[in-house]
Symmetry: C2
Subunit: 279 residues, 2 copies
């Protein structure tokens, strides 16, 4: 069965739109998301453009700041500090990657935690770590949990294997799943007996960026596969999983594109609305 | 081979004492650790007494606050706020457990992160999550890593199995070991095939509080065993591991008592000195 990220993400957007409708009378305003984009990176611009469009569809006001590639760090920090106190702005997003002269860590920890929509700050990551039911969570991992939940996948007692250990996917999804009662194994490029470990997974989450790395013979019969990989090969987007090869052996799988990707934006919007509700 | 937590913890105390000696001229003062203990819990009082004694041995000044069992939460928060700004206090410790009327979460997030010596606040947990080399880390997990490092145990590529998923042991040690390049599996009471998983572990870390649960037949030949369990059975302290049963099969093991326990205090002192250095 296909885990349809586009469909679930559309459902979430409808729910958020209704929620904003209800809240806006009470609040006297709609939610606001400020986006800062630095430089002229094409992929980032397309991505930000799509976010702005989606915001407008569901009733979130966008504040877009397009800054020059060579802007000084202190100017960006100053802008963030202004946005931190501006009351119509509920959430602040700084599009990555950043130019070399700007410290990602400094940027992320200058955004006030209550507006840190990507959940990249120490405070928000720590809150998620200590309380898995918190309402602000990193977008891609939260999107994966949402998919599993909406497809009624029970996590307790399940063997989950995660490939990859980044700060934005592997590590946070590990913590969330550990908190959900799954038995979680996190692998990396140095893992010994990787194929044996993968073969035991009831749920396999791959976030390693190796096109079509996961083949039929590597996975367990009826495994659930969450493919976080986005690999550009010959102008085509592919996942970490060889979809056509594994499709007859899995019980559920996310396609790439159309699986986890749309969920990341949906959860970003959900974080924005949660921040608006808190505000 | 025995992993001797008492010996390593003594070595660390000597190192810290020397470090304080060097720093105190430059700083014009010695480090200060404030400890708040609420109520008359015997175990907590013994534990705090031992901390105060160790502090004085290595040159840390103790500020001890013994508060009544029925104190109001706001009084404790007020004291913490005073200690947050007091310059001779580098680190603040609130002894757990707390009486019912006092919210642990609120207490932990009122201590300013730069003085949160237990590393229980969102900010400090998040910092550790994002940067495993940070100098303030939760004491028991940091103590385990220190033991493994001082016994020259390489972590990269090793299969580590963690039993237990608490916020103060299981989850943070998982994140630290994932960051160190180990292949980490976190189990809980719902884990299926637990014995098979344990049997694969190059390094087994148990923090479940079940006296002598781990037997010889469950572990891998030459495994390294870290026993975090502290169980009181018939007036005796035992670990989660049946030490006498497994001793001939392991390559290294921490005894209980005398393994992980003394390291927790050593790392608390190390955090205190790191906070003093930063201050």
């Amino acid at each position: 069965m296909l885990i349809d990220g586009r469909k679930i993400s559309s459902e979430i957007k409808v729910e958020l739109k209704e929620e904003i409708e209800k809240l806006k009378n009470e609040k006297g305003r709609i939610p606001g998301l400020a986006t800062i984009i630095i430089g002229k990176d094409k992929a980032s611009q397309i991505y930000v453009g799509s976010k702005v469009k989606t915001c407008s569809e569901i009733g979130i006001q966008s504040f877009l700041y397009e800054l020059a590639e060579d802007i000084e760090e202190k100017e960006v920090l100053k802008l963030i500090e202004e946005l931190n106190i501006r009351s119509e702005v509920d959430a602040i997003l700084v599009q990555l990657p950043l130019p070399k002269q700007i410290s990602e860590k400094k940027i992320m920890n200058t955004i006030i935690p209550s507006k840190d929509v990507d959940c990249f700050s120490n405070e928000n990551i720590g809150r998620m770590f200590l309380n898995p039911n918190t309402d602000i969570r990193p977008c891609t991992p939260a999107g994966i949990l949402e998919l599993l939940s909406r497809y009624s996948v029970k996590l307790e007692g399940k063997k989950v294997v995660i490939l990859g250990r980044s700060n934005i996917v592997g590590k946070p999804i590990a913590i969330m799943l550990i908190s959900s009662g799954a038995t979680v194994t996190v692998c990396n490029s140095k893992t010994v007996d990787l194929e044996k470990i993968i073969k035991k997974a009831d749920i396999l989450i791959s976030a390693i960026g190796k096109s079509k790395f996961i083949k039929k013979e590597m996975i367990k019969e009826n495994a659930i596969i969450i493919d976080v990989g986005i690999n550009r090969v010959d102008g085509k987007i592919t996942g970490d999983v060889d979809f056509d090869d594994v499709i007859d052996k899995v019980s559920m799988i996310t396609p790439v594109p159309g699986g986890v990707g749309p969920m990341t934006i949906a959860m970003l919007l959900k974080n924005t609305v949660n921040m608006y509700r808190r505000n």
